[in-house]
């Protein structure tokens, strides 16, 4: 029960090249289309991305790595802004999106991991979700 990891992992094989998928990650307009939030900001290390959900709630994330055609890593900040302007605490997490070519298509691997207030991953605790869709 308690010897796995505290993160969510997803893996998929997509019918596109790594370059095409990178465009969907690095272009905020295209990213907004599939992410389920309006995304604003530049996908470059150190830049802040703002995710505004359909209900107006705003989350921010710091880009940690952005390697075109290979990986995007960002870390959500531990607060979100409600539509009425209130700051509300929310679980911080780190999202790592890795892409690599496979047989003319591309494997995308996404890991979202809870992190502590200092930005370090939370210890592994035993719940593990993995899916190949």
């Amino acid at each position: 029960m308690l010897n796995g990891v505290s993160d969510v992992e997803k893996e998929d094989l997509l019918p596109a090249s790594p370059e095409e998928i990178w465009e969907s990650l690095a272009d905020p307009d295209r990213l907004s289309e599939w992410f389920g939030a309006d995304v604003d900001g530049r996908v470059e290390p150190g830049e802040v991305l703002t995710f505004t959900g359909a209900d107006g709630t705003e989350r921010r994330a710091v880009v940690e790595f952005a390697e075109p055609g290979r990986r995007l890593v960002f870390r959500y900040l531990p607060n979100e802004l409600t539509p009425d302007g209130r700051s509300r605490r929310r679980e911080s997490s780190r999202v790592a999106i890795l892409i690599e070519p496979f047989d003319g298509q591309t494997i995308i691997r996404i890991t979202e991991t809870r992190v502590g207030s200092a930005g370090t991953p939370r210890p592994q605790i035993g719940f593990h979700a993995r899916a190949r869709t």
Binding site: K10, E20, E91, I110, E112, R114, P123, I125, F127
Partner: protein
């Protein structure tokens, strides 16, 4: 951080020894620190400290019986942690399906 915040569960379970205490307590159902110490390679005093931390996070509850204190797991708190994983997992399923649609449209 408020010990009752859902995320506190993850901090409390960050220690491998505490996880062993949790697993042992889960298999015993209800136990005193002395009873747990019979199954684990740590002292009763150390187990008591770990149980205090788990109790602060709401992961275990305690009740007195005579001079003894019995502990048991609090399942609802574990459900909070599982809930985060289920929610985030579902969000990524939805996003990946939308990304696939976007890529298909572009072709």
């Amino acid at each position: 951080m408020n010990p009752r915040d859902p995320e506190y569960v993850f901090d409390a379970l960050g220690d491998p020894t505490r996880r062993r205490v949790v697993m042992q307590l889960g298999s015993l159902g209800s136990a005193t620190p002395t009873q747990l110490a019979q199954h684990l390679p740590i002292t009763r005093q150390a187990i008591s400290k770990h149980l205090d931390m788990l109790a602060a996070a709401g992961l275990v509850s305690m009740h007195k019986q005579g001079r003894q204190t019995f502990y048991r797991l609090t399942p609802e708190r574990f459900t909070d942690a599982v809930g985060w994983i289920a929610q985030v997992g579902a969000e990524w399923d939805t996003r990946l399906a939308a990304l696939r649609r976007q890529l298909r449209k572009k072709r």
